[in-house]
Symmetry: C2
Subunit: 375 residues, 2 copies
């Protein structure tokens, strides 16, 4: 990884996964020239675009134009926005449309939207004819820095989130950084929490750079491209090392065990808490818990909390509107997320900013009393 | 591959697919000791069994007993028999049951049934938590010699058969040859067509052996085990060479392009034609067409037809009850099955018994006039 530079141009992150290697292009205006980038990487000439009712009206026509100019036959499906679309019904609708469009193995499914559309369309692409080509055009910040990279796809079931899916790597990711201007500030901040996460995992200088430059990331321009490129590179590095998530990829869960428990405790009600907000609080908790275990200095936790709060993210459990259920319920949600073995739990802890590690023997009793004290 | 021997005991075929390698055990009585075989190969202790209403009443209790004796927590789902179960609804039912049973990545889904149950349960196992362990207990002859080996899974859609699915290799295949005694003679013959296919592809001595020993294969005993073992080995060899079906695996389609067209032309009505019957007619047609193109001697086609007819399989289009639609409709079904490029078609042809090859430039006009003449 390179230290942040301040070029203004487009960036390319290559994900070297052997015969499943692919490029991530990052910069403004990529949707307008998607056709040319795709045609260079695809043997087929048919594409099926899946998008949602928020993103479709804003960017679908532009994408269709570009594809048709380059000679593609393109069809599209516009689904309702939100987590509910990641369901069996959504999957049935997506696969039916892809098959009706006669997409063959060399043709592609294109996801145009946030993580919901990316996860659903990627799953559909992974199972139609046992796998057709797949292109991600992530339009939320979270999707650009996290969900569009790595090949995890899936839907939710009544038993929990993301319980059905496949690993299906995209053939190309086009992160058009200009489309983030239409994203709500709250969704932008939520995606920013995941950017900060990469610094906190193992890139202290990146976290420091974010402390100085975060406003420019929010405003757009070269710093936004830079922050997204560094994040994609960080995620790609982990994915290449551990494609099927058996080891190191677990570090990407920094802040997520606590975060998921908070999401569950608020009933996945996005008006109360969106994923990135849960992660922000979770990362602060991970630093504070590490300090409590004398693994890290309390100053680091304070510094993390200060930065995330400055950006406008919640950093404490009391920041969640409507209150939380008893700690016992939070513990049960944690046990659902991570297997508990004889009273011990795997958590991502830290020795300081940019020094996270996997701790696989954390006593649940310690976690319980910590959470009791923090609320 | 070894030449047929006449041992009486159980056979083991190993499928060396690197970290997805697995064993196929073939012999009578395997269901009764399934628990022991599975426990030796699985880290988890929970299993979810999927079966159908024909097979369940016959063998489910025995399987559950064996699993429970060996300490497994086993639950089961009994689905209606038949091709309709290979649907989105079937998939939703299967995955829901597997998740309700809290099957984790080290636990397993077990398919107890014919190819329908194997294809459905394998697909479900491939997508629950992005892949849990999977064990095949094939109970039809077709499933024992074909569908349970190779990792192809899937369901049907209104756009066609097997259009949704994943590659998901099993961790173990237990082919209990005694359960074939309860299979209807018609289904047994249909599976036998696939056994004959392996001889016709590239094992002339196996075809000769079948001509002499087929009655003993039908009756049971060491010849049945032998024929199934040779078939599994033949399929495994092809799969290992070409796991994702990009080349050589196409030879397994001998007789299938014609066969699928006949199945489509009879509306997939299994009272008129089951898959193996279509394959039997298709293999004879492939030999006759090869003779017509002066690639093979007509004697070979006659010999193939004579053997399949002796066994009780249909070998000519006129053998199909209720008649066939015009040849033009058959040609459209063929074009649906295989991509037609500028009037040329890919077909598996032969230079004689055991000498099949992929011909990728067969003029559709020749196929049309051949089919016209044969009906
Ligand atoms: N596959 C993975 O590795 C992975 C990783 C992290 C998260 N996820 C998944 O991602 C999902 C969350 O992703 P998300 O936060 O992008 O949610 P999302 O897709 O619901 O997008 C958030 C909201 O922003 C809207 N939106 C998106 N782009 C926009 C734009 N440019 N302008 C205006 N509105 C826009 C969407 O319509 C939606 O209402 C979750 O389902 C989560 O499970 C997957
Ligand atoms: N995955 C693959 O590689 C592959 C290969 C070939 C075929 N297939 C699929 O396999 C399916 C056909 O398989 P099939 O012919 O086994 O069909 P099937 O599963 O429908 O079984 C045929 C009939 O026999 C019954 N049966 C099965 N075992 C029995 C037993 N021991 N005793 C009594 N009855 C029994 C079943 O209930 C059913 O009614 C098709 O869906 C086809 O697409 C898949
Ligand atoms: Zn996250
Ligand atoms: Zn077949």
């Amino acid at each position: 990884m390179n230290a942040p530079s301040s070029t203004t141009g487009e960036r390319l992150v290559h994900v070297p996964l052997g015969d499943r290697a692919y490029d991530i292009l990052i910069g403004p205006g990529l949707i307008a020239r998607a056709g040319g980038e795709i045609i260079a990487r695809l043997t087929g000439r048919r594409v099926a675009i899946i998008t949602d009712e928020n993103v479709g009206p804003l960017y679908l026509a532009q994408l269709m134009d570009s594809l048709q100019t380059d000679g593609f036959e393109a069809v599209s499906l516009v689904l309702p926005p939100g987590e509910k679309t990641k369901s069996m019904d959504g999957l049935a609708a997506a696969t039916d449309m892809i098959l009706a469009a006669r997409i063959e193995r060399g043709d592609a499914v294109i996801a145009l939207g946030g993580g919901v559309i990316g996860d659903l369309a990627g799953f559909a692409a992974g199972i139609v004819r046992r796998g057709v080509r797949f292109i991600q055009i992530p339009t939320s910040l979270l999707a650009q820095v996290d969900s569009s990279v790595g090949g995890k796809t899936g839907i939710n079931t009544r038993h929990g989130k993301n319980l059905l899916g496949v690993f299906h790597q995209p053939d190309l990711v086009l992160a058009d950084t200009a489309v983030l201007d239409s994203l709500s500030p709250r969704e932008f901040r939520a995606g920013y929490a995941e950017i900060a996460k990469y610094g906190l995992i193992d890139k202290p200088y990146f976290f420091h750079w974010l402390e100085k430059n975060w406003k420019k990331v929010f405003e757009g321009g070269p710093e936004r491209i830079e922050a997204i490129a560094i994040s994609c590179q960080a995620k790609a590095d982990v994915v290449v090392e551990d494609e099927r998530e058996t080891g190191r990829r677990a570090l990407l869960n920094l802040g997520h065990t606590f975060g998921h428990a908070l999401e569950a405790a608020t009933g996945y009600d996005s008006s109360r808490l969106v994923h990135g907000e849960g992660v922000a609080i979770g990362m602060v908790l991970a630093h504070q818990f590490s300090a409590r275990l004398n693994l890290a200095s309390p100053d680091d936790g304070q510094r993390v909390a200060a930065h995330l709060a400055e950006v406008g993210l919640p950093t404490r459990m009391v920041d969640i509107e409507g209150g939380l259920p008893p700690t016992q319920i939070l513990m049960e949600a944690i046990a659902q997320d991570k297997k508990v073995k004889s009273g011990k739990l795997t958590l991502i802890l830290t020795r300081g900013i940019g020094q996270s590690f996997v701790a696989d023997d954390v006593p649940t009793s310690e976690v319980f009393s910590f959470l009791e004290d923090m609320r």
